[in-house]
């Protein structure tokens, strides 16, 4: 499974984030470095590329604690995702559902699955073909942020739209 590194959408922040990653999870942004994708900045992403999707569209949405509702900010992101995915139809899509650590393992697998399904359903409602979409739950087994407080938990309660097929 191709895992797309998480990036902030703000190009100015990219260099900063790379540095902050060293300092653990102090950053409110996701702590993956731009170099992971060989980028020098958002502007370098070719339209229609996986980098373009991750950097300019935003590959992930976040959830409230123990909730699977798509928040208003997430709806904006998913609408943008759907528009992009409808434009670049060469990609197959896997939606990963994740939970924070503040739940038990099996329940969180189920919760992550429900988040992935809710995200998938939203994309389908926005016109993305269901046949392109798969879901997988990682429960709380794949946190991106690793501190023991709310600033990290809120980043881990997420659904990540990952691209496979032609683009990656």
């Amino acid at each position: 499974m191709g895992r797309i590194a998480a990036l902030t959408r703000n190009p100015v922040m990219i260099a900063l984030v790379a540095m902050l990653a060293i300092a653990g999870c102090a950053s409110k942004k996701t702590p993956n470095s731009a170099q992971d994708l060989g980028l020098n900045g958002a502007g370098a992403a070719t339209p229609g590329s996986a980098q373009d999707f991750t950097v300019n569209i935003g590959d992930r949405i976040f959830f409230d604690t123990d909730s699977t509702s798509i928040r208003a900010d997430a709806q904006t992101t998913l609408s943008r995702q759907a528009q992009w995915l409808n434009q670049y139809k060469q990609y197959a899509i896997v939606v990963e559902g994740h939970a924070d650590e503040r739940g038990t393992r099996e329940y969180n697998l189920a919760l992550g699955a429900r988040r992935a399904a809710a995200t998938r359903d939203f994309l389908v409602a926005k016109g993305v073909s269901a046949s392109r979409l798969k879901t997988i739950s990682y429960g709380k087994e794949r946190p991106v942020a690793v501190c023991d407080d709310i600033s990290c938990w809120s980043q881990n309660r997420r659904a990540v739209t990952t691209l496979s097929g032609a683009g990656s």
């Binding site: 123990d66 329940y107 697998l109 189920a110 087994e141």
Partner: protein, 436 residues
């Protein structure tokens, strides 16, 4: 598992030279009432087993550690011993043991048989009654030295408490290493005291929630190896693996039925909810037990196989429910202030252990099977996933602290908490049944 141990009951036969014992008045022998609220640990002297060089001392050390960790025994430091046991088959000088307040005394010997096997025998003495309480001998091959000691500890525990022991058992768990956001998770098995660790998977795929079959020879667990997370069966000795069922979506949270014929688990529905299914391992037929637009997971059978306890958030947040093994009569039993999950039915049938989240804490507790009598045994920032010792008196679970999870046990009083030594981080322990 090969049957390498042949216990020989020697209680009467080994009482040679003990004619005095038969003439003693019928004294009440020392015993521990483990059902009393506050058990004072029983002072016990465990002498080095004679013979076998270092092995004799090692057996004594393992027996001592087992009994001590149970919280029910207070082994007396060897430096306090007055009598030096030279003949473990002869009656000890009881006064020498009474004066150091050893209420029970263990003597024993170990020797190599001509065929290479080890012969270990022990005697348990009641020092105040001046009587032998028990004596047995066991044979084992070299590779099972530690098991002999655990079996002897179980025999002593059972004789003194009236309850089955749990020391000759193993634990399957998830060995975790590496950074938190890139944890390598491996299936592993070890003795209940942390010895003899063996890895059962290579760590390339995430594996979770292993559970023993009733005959201890198989494990059911969940793995991401095919991409989609699914439930598998593993034969421990042969390493043979197979997928359980051929379902379209994720299967997870597996457990065996008490007769070992079925695996019960959650299956993800297309709408994102999870329902509980049981699969017959012989006929491969599946039975749907729940059909709700909610998360139904973590099923666990009652020991008689007639009921299933599970987690569901059908009422809003996760709570514990009980139903018949056919899915009938689904009834919520947890009503406390908080979120409940990971219910596990006690092998004695009397209690359900659970994880409860409340007030920013994770608690391990037990309740009666109707949900009454809730008792919290352990609280912490992040801990979950209890598993029962086969005698239903001790729980093991995992607690996250200092960067990762470690295994912890607690007894039903909640007073005796012990950490289980593991080389790496460890989670999802599942205790084996006793080997019959």
């Amino acid at each position: 598992m090969k049957s390498i141990l042949k216990p020989l009951l020697m209680v009467a036969a080994m009482a040679m030279g003990m004619t005095a014992a038969g003439t003693l008045p019928a004294l009440a022998l020392v015993e521990l009432n483990v059902n009393k609220g506050n058990v004072e640990p029983l002072p016990i002297a465990i002498t080095d087993f004679q013979g076998g060089d270092a092995l004799g001392a090692q057996i004594s050390q393992i027996v001592t550690a087992d009994l001590k960790r149970s919280g029910l025994f207070a082994p007396i430091d060897k430096s306090a011993f007055i009598e030096k046991i030279t003949n473990p088959d002869a009656a000890p000088r009881f006064d020498d043991w009474k004066v150091i307040n050893a209420q029970a005394l263990v003597t024993g010997s170990v020797s190599k048989e001509a065929d290479g096997r080890i012969r270990a025998q022990y005697r348990l003495w009641d020092t105040f009654a001046g009587q032998q309480m028990a004596g047995e001998q066991f044979f084992a091959n070299d590779a099972n030295q530690r098991r002999v000691a655990h079996i002897i500890a179980d025999a002593i525990y059972e004789r003194l408490t009236g309850e089955k022991g749990y020391f000759d058992t193993r634990v399957v768990f998830i060995d975790e290493s590496g950074a938190k956001n890139a944890r390598k998770k491996r299936l592993a098995i070890m003795d209940q005291d942390g010895a003899n660790v063996r890895y059962l998977s290579d760590g390339r795929s995430i594996v979770l929630t292993p559970r023993f079959s009733p005959n201890r020879q198989e494990i059911t667990y969940m793995s991401y190896e095919s991409g989609q997370p699914r439930v598998y069966l593993l034969q421990i000795e042969t390493g043979q693996r197979e997928l359980v069922g051929n379902f379209p979506g994720m299967t997870f949270a597996p457990r065996f039925s008490p007769d070992g014929q079925k695996v019960i688990m959650s299956l993800l529905r297309d709408d994102g909810n999870s329902n509980i299914f049981a699969m017959d391992l012989r006929s491969r037929s599946t039975t749907r037990l729940t059909n709700s637009t909610a998360i139904d997971t973590s099923p666990s059978y009652s020991p008689d196989g007639s009921k299933v306890v599970f987690t569901s958030d059908r009422g809003g947040r996760a709570q514990i429910y009980v139903m018949g093994a056919d899915g009938s009569g689904q009834t919520r039993i947890s009503f406390g202030d908080g979120v409940y999950s990971t219910p596990v039915w006690s092998p004695r049938g009397d209690l359900i252990a659970f994880t409860k989240q409340t007030g920013g804490e994770f608690q391990i507790g037990v309740m009666k099977t109707d949900g009454s009598g809730e008792r919290i045994l352990s609280s912490g920032f992040q801990q979950e996933g209890p598993t029962w010792a086969p005698n239903g008196r001790v729980l093991m679970f995992f607690r996250d602290s200092a960067g990762g999870p470690k295994l912890v046990s607690v007894d039903l009083t909640g007073r005796n908490e012990q950490s289980i030594p593991t080389a790496n981080f460890a989670s999802d322990p599942a205790w084996s049944p006793l080997l019959e």
